[in-house]
């Protein structure tokens, strides 16, 4: 630890700290534009100047190490001042220079109200300009459908360049020219291809990069901010939903170092127009082959008429990928009341069995644990498309060095280099048996991590592959005291919650594929399940939000609430229980899903015993106590992995394929979004030209 006197206060900080960090530790506030905790240090905005005793000039605190400070003549600790007139004058000078070329267009700037430059100009700006010359004019650049550029406003902090090169791993942004003619652009104004590009808007300290879909839509002070959890993938990124009236205007990331740090993917951020389009806002009942608007009671009556004569084992329910645990708990309770054993939440047929123990389907190392891992084997997953934010975490660890990565499955650009081992289960068997060179690497590693993706599980031999991966994890030392490096990477936000609830076929019940078979069932409830085809025959009740494939197939549609319109608990891929708050109301006659199920249960004569969400949660917490520990993980045991390994089985030979073909169109909300459609077309164009 190094001693330091900041503003007369003596503090003790680690010597690798920068002066800026040391000053913050001492409680001093340092203005900055280019410095960002999660990016490399550029030191080019000069806003963070502080006075360092003994230095003839003010120093940029973000780029000055504590260990580089010299002690006083008698060995006194270095003295730093952040509030002296000299510091103030220096920062005012910097601010004046920054404002020479910055346009005075705050009234029409989307950053207005949440602009670092605006805020800091309030503290360090002078009231008038001393410059009579014309301001610099810069042409606006096209860098994609998500980020709008107004390049006159750019102050060249280079945060966006550093983000795209370091965090996103797709170095597409750069600074061309030099001096006054420096411009931020992509190569010949090609669209950015990163799926994390929306974050550059948050990083931009001024209004040079703003959100294109959100352009001129709202002012930050008009918005109601609600803390929620993302459901686009199984990572469960912390988000803030900004609403005006009943409309969701934008989604921003919240900082959660355990999950998403402060990044979110473009799908998470820009899906909001999908929340307005294609919405189901009233119940429908199919009559003579056509869906007709109906009242709730008519819809319930139509369902009751079909459920009453059906035998219990001819009734079933499939939960979709976006469902919260509350509604799945209610649906399971309803199915139990109807004596049905046909339940499933694994539309893709992923071979995950809650009976094998919680560790068998969790990302046991935790997402933050990736930072501690020292070797990685990815099996049947494309983390970049299936969990972009988690992929950024892997890349962060890879950038730190000494992190060998190998992949079994589809070759893809994952933004980090890896050793490609093979395409299918045979290679995995080789690794498990130690016949692969990379097995040695994993064995030697202290904390090896094996990521098992949905591409390896959602296939007929998925159970055998899971057992094989567990064998590999056990044999290669990924499961030991204090470290569980067996990680299942889910693609559906609802999946872990559903498995925790036991939303799977009860002894002898039918699984999703069997239920969806022609002639499999008489009555099928789809709780937002759109990724599964149900052939004609069964009477399908669709509870959901969007006019997607499930609604097209449905005989009765009960309009539900999207994830921003209900309070719900979600369990992410690492088993972290997170609660999202309600940011708005569902449109029209649509209702929260648990309330629909409660009302439906009454109509079916099997009234569920809770009248409010709080009562439902109480019942759920009694049955599944770990769900009440919000933001915590109830870890699985290493024993589960060993048991899973013992299950054995013979995997087939088919190569692993990632289930996420198109990152931008994975769920009904995304498919209703015009912005996502545009991104998808662009991405497809890139794939096509790359294939040529």
């Amino acid at each position: 630890m190094a001693k330091l006197i900041v503003d007369g206060k003596e503090i003790d900080v680690p010597p690798e700290y920068t002066l800026l960090q040391a000053c913050e530790a001492a409680g001093a506030e340092i203005p900055r534009f280019c410095f960002h905790e999660r990016l490399s240090i550029a030191g080019n905005c000069r806003m963070c100047l502080v006075e360092l005793k003994g230095s003839p000039k003010p120093v940029a605190s973000c780029a000055w190490g504590v260990r580089d400070c010299r002690p006083g003549p008698n060995g006194e600790p270095p003295v730093v001042n952040t509030r002296t007139p000299m510091v103030r004058k220096a920062r005012e000078g910097v601010m004046e220079f920054l404002l020479i070329n910055h346009p005075l267009d705050c009234p029409i700037c989307d950053q207005g109200g949440e602009c670092d430059l605006q805020d800091q100009a309030m503290a360090y700006g002078v009231d008038a300009s001393r410059y009579a010359d014309n301001k610099r004019a810069v042409e606006d650049k096209y860098i994609g459908p998500l980020v709008k550029t107004i390049m006159n406003r750019c102050i060249h902090c280079t945060r966006c360049i550093r983000f795209s090169a370091e965090v996103a791993g797709v170095p597409e942004l750069g600074a061309t020219g030099r001096g006054e003619d420096m411009e931020i652009t992509t190569y010949l104004e090609h669209a950015m291809s990163s799926e994390l590009q929306g974050n550059v808007v948050d990083l931009c300290p001024v209004g040079a990069l703003t959100s294109k879909p959100y352009a001129f839509a709202a002012r930050p002070w008009e918005l109601t901010k609600t803390e929620a959890v993302d459901v686009m993938d199984a990572v469960g990124s912390a988000i803030r939903v900004d609403t005006r009236g009943r409309e969701v205007m934008r989604i921003l990331p919240r900082t959660n170092d355990d999950v998403n740090e402060e990044w979110i993917s473009d799908k998470t951020r820009h899906i909001i127009d999908g929340l307005r389009a294609q919405r189901l806002d009233q119940p429908y009942v199919r009559e003579n082959g056509r869906l007709k608007p109906a009242s709730w009671s008519q819809a319930f009556a139509a369902i009751a008429a079909k459920v009453a004569p059906a035998a219990p084992d001819r009734i079933g329910a499939i939960a979709g990928d976006l469902a919260a645990v509350e509604e799945m708990f209610a649906l399971k309770a309803l199915m139990t009341a109807l004596s049905s054993r046909n339940l499933d939440a694994r539309q893709d047929g992923a071979a995950l069995d809650p009976a094998a123990g919680r560790a068998s389907y969790l990302f046991n190392s935790t997402i933050a644990g990736i930072d501690k891992a020292d070797a990685l084997l990815i099996v049947g997953a494309n983390p970049r498309r299936e969990a972009s934010v988690l992929n950024a975490r892997i890349r962060k660890r890879w950038r730190a060095g000494k992190f060998p990565i190998a992949l079994i499955g589809e070759k893809a650009d994952l933004t980090y280099s890896y050793e490609y081992l093979g395409a299918g289960p045979e290679t995995l068997a080789d690794v498990a048996a130690g016949r692969q060179g990379f097995a040695e690497t994993l064995k030697k590693a202290e904390r090896p991590l094996i990521i098992l993706g949905a591409g390896a599980l959602a296939r007929p031999d998925g159970a055998a592959v899971a057992a094989l991966a567990a064998q590999a994890a056990v044999a290669l030392g990924a499961v030991k005291d204090g470290w569980n490096g067996f990680g299942v990477l889910h693609t559906a936000a609802s999946r872990v919650g559903a498995l925790d609830l036991g939303f799977v076929p009860v002894s002898g019940g039918k699984n999703a594929a069997e239920m969806a078979q022609a002639g499999g069932l008489d009555v099928l409830f789809l709780l937002g399940a759109d990724e599964i085809d149900v052939p004609p025959g069964a009477f399908v009740v669709y509870i959901g939000t969007h006019g997607d494939s499930g609604a097209h197939r449905a005989d009765v549609i009960l309009p539900g609430a999207a994830y921003t319109e209900k309070s719900g608990i979600y369990v992410n891929t690492e088993g972290r229980v997170q609660m999202a708050n309600r940011a708005g109301f569902p449109p029209g006659d649509a209702r929260e899903d648990w309330a629909i199920l409660r009302a439906l249960s009454d109509a079916l004569g099997q009234k569920l015993p809770y009248d409010s969400l709080a009562q439902l949660r109480q019942a759920m917490f009694r049955a599944h106590p770990h769900l009440q520990h919000i933001d915590q993980i109830a870890p699985g045991t290493a024993e589960d992995i060993r048991k899973l390994a013992d299950r054995g089985g013979t995997p087939g030979k088919a190569p692993f394929r990632s289930p996420v073909e198109d990152f931008y169109l994975t769920n009904p909300i995304a498919r209703a979004s015009a912005v996502m459609a545009e991104c998808s077309v662009l991405a497809e164009g890139r794939t096509m030209s790359a294939a040529e």
Binding site: A165, P171, E172, L173, G174, G177, D181, Y187, L188
Partner: protein, 204 residues
Amino acid sequence: MAVRRVAPPEQQPKEFSFTADNLAWAKKQVEKYPPGRQQSAIIPLLWRAQEQNGGWLPEAAIRHVADFLDMAHIRALEVATFYTMFLLQPCGTKAHVQVCGTTPCRLRGADAIFDVCHKRIHHDALHVSADGNFSWEEVECLGACVNAPMVLIWNDTYEDLTPESFEKILDEFAAGRKPKPGPQVDRQFSAPVGGPTTLKTVKA
């Protein structure tokens, strides 16, 4: 200095790749750097690409060099737009004249040299003359102040110019010949005009 952009597509060659000789040379350049640091060779490689392309750097060459060094295209574009020695627009096929416009040359009559450029080549810098043979630009000090005014054409400097001698040099280039580089008056390198003025008595 103005904003530097790559030339419009209609002026760009469709593709670019190093000749066999240049490729071998480029590989040697890359070997100078430790593994993983091959990107350090970008400036010499871009320069060689520019020479191969007749004095200017097309967009295809920037891409080619970036791919050759396994770096993002934008990173190569950053370098190419940063250094003014990389010409991003087509230049004269016979001569691209870089006229020094820094103080010593100006004091010694660079203005007259610029007048010749305006008259004979093009009114504006970095524009190709009507016949496509010549172009000119103003550059900062090229380090031959003793021999001011001077110009740099390709790799050679032509010094101690007058408008007349400069025109003669351009005539030579137009005729496809290569004039004698260096001082265009009676002196050796930077030695005094008209022979030695001191130390005349010293025997060699």
